[in-house]
C-alpha cells in the first residue's frame, strides 16, 4: 500500500539567514529563506543585484554556512559540519561554476578540468581521459592544452563548466554563467546545461539576470532583499 514516492529533496533551506559584519555595519544578505529543490530540477534564481543570490548559492554550494536557520543537503545539516566535511561534500557531490571563471591562470585547460578529479584520487591516466571527454562535451577538445589566458571569455566559461561537470556531480551550481557572454555564446552555454540536466539528470541551480536564460529552467525563483519574492513562482513544478 505504498504511495509512489515523490522525488527526494536535495536541497532544503529552512529559515536560512546570513549576516555579514556586526553592529551598525551588519549587512543582511539573507533574511530568512525557505526553499526546497528536488533531484533532477533545473532552477533559475533571479533578482536584482545585492538581493542575496550569490550568498544563497555559496550556502547551497557548502562554501559558506548560514548565520541562523538550517541548510540541509541530501538531508545532512551542513551548518554543523566541519570545514573538512564540507570540503568533502563539495568534492564528491557539487559542481560549481563561479561568477568569475576562477580558473588557474598558468594551468592548461585540461589540467584545470582534471583538478577536481585529482582531489578525488582518480588515477592519472583515467583523469586525463575523463577531463578530455568533459572538454569535448563542451566543444573544447581542440584547445585542451591552452592556458586560460589564451582562450576567449566564452571558452574560459566552458572550461569552467567542464571542470564543474567532470566529476558527474549530484548538483551543479552556476552563478551567472552567461554574465560575461554575448547572446550566441550564452545560448550555447544554456544548451549545454540543459543537456546535462536532461541526459545526466544533474540537478542544476543557476543564477541569471536574463529572462531568456531563465526560460531554460524548469522553475524560476525570485530574490528580493535577501528573501524569496512570493510574486515569483516558488512551488514544486
Amino acid at each position: 500500500m505504498k504511495i509512489p514516492q515523490s522525488p527526494s529533496p536535495v536541497i532544503e533551506l529552512k529559515g536560512t539567514k546570513k549576516y555579514y559584519g556586526e553592529g551598525d555595519a551588519t549587512a543582511y544578505a539573507l533574511r530568512g529563506v525557505d526553499l526546497t529543490i528536488y533531484e533532477g530540477e533545473f532552477v533559475a534564481i533571479m533578482g536584482p543585484s545585492g538581493s542575496g543570490k550569490s550568498t544563497a548559492m555559496n550556502i547551497i554550494g557548502c562554501l559558506d554556512v548560514p548565520t541562523e536557520g538550517h541548510y540541509l543537503f541530501e538531508g545532512i545539516d551542513v551548518g554543523i559540519l566541519s570545514r573538512d566535511q564540507r570540503a568533502l561534500l563539495r568534492r564528491n557531490y557539487i559542481g560549481f561554476i563561479f561568477q568569475g571563471f576562477n580558473l588557474l591562470g598558468k594551468t592548461s585547460a585540461v589540467e584545470n578540468v582534471e583538478l577536481p578529479l585529482l582531489y578525488r584520487g582518480v588515477p592519472a591516466h583515467e583523469r586525463r581521459t575523463m577531463a578530455m571527454a568533459a572538454l569535448q562535451s563542451v566543444g573544447l577538445g581542440n584547445v585542451a592544452h591552452h592556458t586560460p589566458g589564451e582562450l576567449s571569455g566564452g571558452q574560459q566559461q566552458r572550461v569552467a563548466i567542464a571542470r564543474a561537470i567532470v566529476t558527474d556531480p549530484l548538483v551543479l551550481l552556476a552563478d551567472e554563467p552567461t554574465g560575461n557572454l554575448d547572446t550566441a555564446k550564452s545560448i550555447e552555454v544554456m544548451e549545454l546545461l540543459k543537456s546535462f540536466n536532461l541526459e545526466k539528470k544533474i540537478t542544476i541551480i543557476m543564477v541569471t539576470h536574463e529572462n531568456d536564460m531563465a526560460r531554460y529552467a524548469s522553475r524560476t525563483i525570485h530574490f528580493r532583499d535577501g528573501q524569496i519574492d512570493p510574486a515569483g513562482d516558488g512551488s514544486h513544478p
Binding site: 562554501l63 573538512d84 570540503a87 568533502l88
Partner: protein
Amino acid sequence: MIWNAFILALREIRRSAMRSILTTLGIVIGVASVIAMVMLGDATTAYVTQSISKLGSNMLILRPGQDRHGPGGGDTTSKRFTQEDITAISREIGGIKGVAPVSSKGMQVVYGNQNYSTSIDGSTNDYFTVKDWSFETGRNFTAAELQGGKAVCVIGETIRKELFGDQNPLDASIRLENFSCQVIGVLHSKGSSMFGMDQDDLVVVPLRMFQRRISGNQEIATILLSAKNASGIESIKTNVTSLIRERRHIRPGDEDDFNVRDLREVVQTLSSTTKMLTLLLGAVAAISLLVGGIGIMNIMLVSVTERTREIGIRLAIGALEREVLLQFLVEAIVLSSLGGIIGMALGIGTGVAINHFFDLPFVFNTSIVVIAFLFSTLVGIVFGYFPARKAARLNPIDALRHE
C-alpha cells in the same frame, strides 16, 4: 595524497620557473658561501697545524737563561748545559723518544769553487730522532764517529743543492773554515718553516767534533727533547725542570736559570688565531645564509599572497586544508633542498678551487655542510609553510575574492 601533492608541487615549480629560480638562488648563495668560507678557514687551520707538526710538536727546547720569548733569546752569562745533564735526563726522565744536545755556529762551507753560509749544528743521532728527520741518502753517525769526534757531516737539502748541484755529495769532502769533513748523509727536505725559515739550510756534525774543532769547549747550548707522545709532554716538562734545578742546586723559591720551552704554546697561539679566522669567516657566511633565508621568506610570502586565489579555487572545488598545505610544503621542501644541493656543490667546488689556488690542504667539514643544508631547507620550509597555512585557513570565498 603525498604523491598527488608531490605532482602538484613539481608542476607548480615548473610553471613558475622565475619564482622558483629566485627562491632557489637565495638558498644556493647562502649555502655555498657558508661552505666555501668554512672550508677556507679549516684549510688554513690545517695548514698551520701541519707546518707545526713538521716542526715537531712533541718537542721541548731547553736553553740556558731565563725565559725570553722568541728565537735567539740566548744569554751568554747563564750556566751552560753539560754532557752530564744529557746523561741524567736520558736516565731519569721517562716517556722520552730522544734527547739531543745541540750547539751551533754560523759558518761558511766550501766545496770546490762553491761556498755557502750556513749553520753548523753539533749534535748526536738523537737530533734526527727528536726532529723526526729521515735521510734522503746516506746514513747517520756511527758510535765511533760520535765518540771520536770524527770529521764527518750530514747536510741539508739546501746545502746539497748549493754546493753539489747534480754531483753525488756522498763521501765528498767539504771545507768548514779551516778543516774539512766528509759528507756521510743528506737529509730529507723539510721545506721552510711557518716562520719562513729554510729548515734544510744546515750541516750537522758530531757534537764532540763541534766542541773540539769549532767551539773549543765542552758546553752544550741547547737541549732538544721529544716525548713519545704529545700527552706526556706536560709531565716531562715538569720533571726535566725539577731535575735540572736539582742538578744546579737551585733553592726552592729561586728562579730557574734556564728555560724549557714547549712548541705547543706556539701551536696553541697559532691555532687559536686560525680558529678565530674560521669563526669570523663562518660568521660572515652565516649572515649571508640568513640574508638568503630572508630572501626565501620574502619570495614565499609574496608567492602565497599571489596564490591566495589559487588556494581559494582549490578549496572551493573540494581540496582539504591539509592537502593544500601539503602541496605548498612539498613545493618548499623541493625548492629548498634543490637549492641546498646546488649550493652544496657550488660551495664545495668554490672551496676546493680557493684552497687549490692558495695551495692549502683539502679539508672536508661534513658538519658545516650538513648544517648549512639543513638550515636553508628549514628556512625554506618554515617560510613556505606558514604563509600557506594562513591562506589555507581562509574561508574559500574570501580566498577567491582576494585580488
